[in-house]
Subunit: 226 residues, 2 copies
């Protein structure tokens, strides 16, 4: 009866996208009980992402879920994802940091995940960052995440010891697709598009990276595109 | 005319309390333009703290101010400051981490301050943490803040270089009182009580530390106590 109580717990940050979904499935396979955390920060496609998150959390049979409303990024603006006066680029992935960059987003997400982990007695946080083959965001790099883990452990109780897992950090998008199939991830439930909520646009950076990943993996993407 | 534009900026996290107020005054004296940031996280005394913050921000003639509503800690609970089912202790300051501890609060505050600093082009963040003579919170220690600074600089743009200033970290409360008088801080506007919003209770940890500081400094506290 007490086995349940002793299972190790992981706080999984889950957007509803392909990467963080695979990350959560990998954590589950590793034996963690999943505490699913989703952030609504008024990003353009939040309604669709939240729907995806809920379906995935149900499919994954998570232990607990937090859906957190974060007004902050809207108040801050400064990103095409949260500020509707800035267009989402659709011309192709460029070098450098794109206008979809949200300042220190993963820092804020990880800090909140740390607070949840401390409250819930979880020993891990999982985040679906991908360093290469991604969008050039500085808060998706391994050295940053490792530094954040160090800060979190110094800034919480002595008894709190958290490992930040980033199982996808060195994968390419095509490897993510292959691994997702291997782990039986319900890819048809995931949502990656930055722009649309009905059918994916196919031309924003996120759609392009996703589609390229499926193409390289030689697999068809199960979601609908315009 | 362009001098204004070139003045260095600091994001100051200001609760409306004595410590963070002195910190902001010290930053101003150092020549920084102040971007004042206040967090409303549904703590018990927020109405009073916000009133204090606004008056202090006006007295300090800040360049800009952000008042951020953060539902998160209320959703999380787990602290006497945000969960009204847990009483604020009034029996005297105890060893160890008190029930007023809010999990990784300063981590979340600093992450948001970092996002603001990146957007505003600020080169510093100031936080009024006090390591000793304080309440034993792990997120108030110098080594944690330094680790967080490292994480923030790795997780933001190459062009973003932020120093986290903690001008009070090694002061005692009595030294804070003395310094506050020296810097002409309007102590009568500051609010420290965890419990009341009319007159300070005088017996919560925060009141006790404040009163002890004034007593040791040989100065009378200008605010009203029950």
């Amino acid at each position: 009866m007490n086995l349940e109580k002793n299972r190790k717990k992981a706080v999984c940050i889950m957007s509803g996208g392909m990467d963080s979904t695979l990350g959560a499935y990998m954590m589950k396979k590793e034996g963690y009980e999943i505490i699913a955390v989703h952030f609504n920060y008024d990003q353009r496609t939040e309604a669709k992402e939240l729907e995806a998150f809920k379906k995935i959390a149900a499919a994954l049979d998570v232990k607990e879920q937090y859906i957190l409303d974060l007004e902050f990024f809207k108040q801050l603006g400064a990103s095409a994802l949260t500020d509707k006066s800035i267009d989402v680029p659709t011309g192709g992935v460029q070098e450098g940091i794109p206008v979809t960059y949200v300042p220190f987003r993963n820092g804020i997400f990880l800090s909140m995940a740390a607070a949840i982990a401390e409250k819930e007695g979880a020993e891990a946080i999982a985040i679906g960052v991908v360093e290469e083959d991604s969008s050039g965001y500085p808060d998706c790099r391994e050295d940053y995440i490792t530094a954040m883990q160090n800060a979190i452990n110094l800034g919480t109780k002595e008894s709190t010891n958290i490992t930040i897992k980033m199982p996808l950090v060195h994968l390419k998008k095509s490897e993510i697709v292959t691994k997702a199939l291997e782990y039986k991830v319900p890819l048809e439930l995931t949502w990656s598009c930055y722009k649309n909520e009905e059918k994916a646009c196919g031309v924003c950076d996120s759609c392009r990276l996703r589609l390229r990943g499926f193409e390289t993996a030689g697999v068809e993407d199960p979601i609908a595109y315009v």
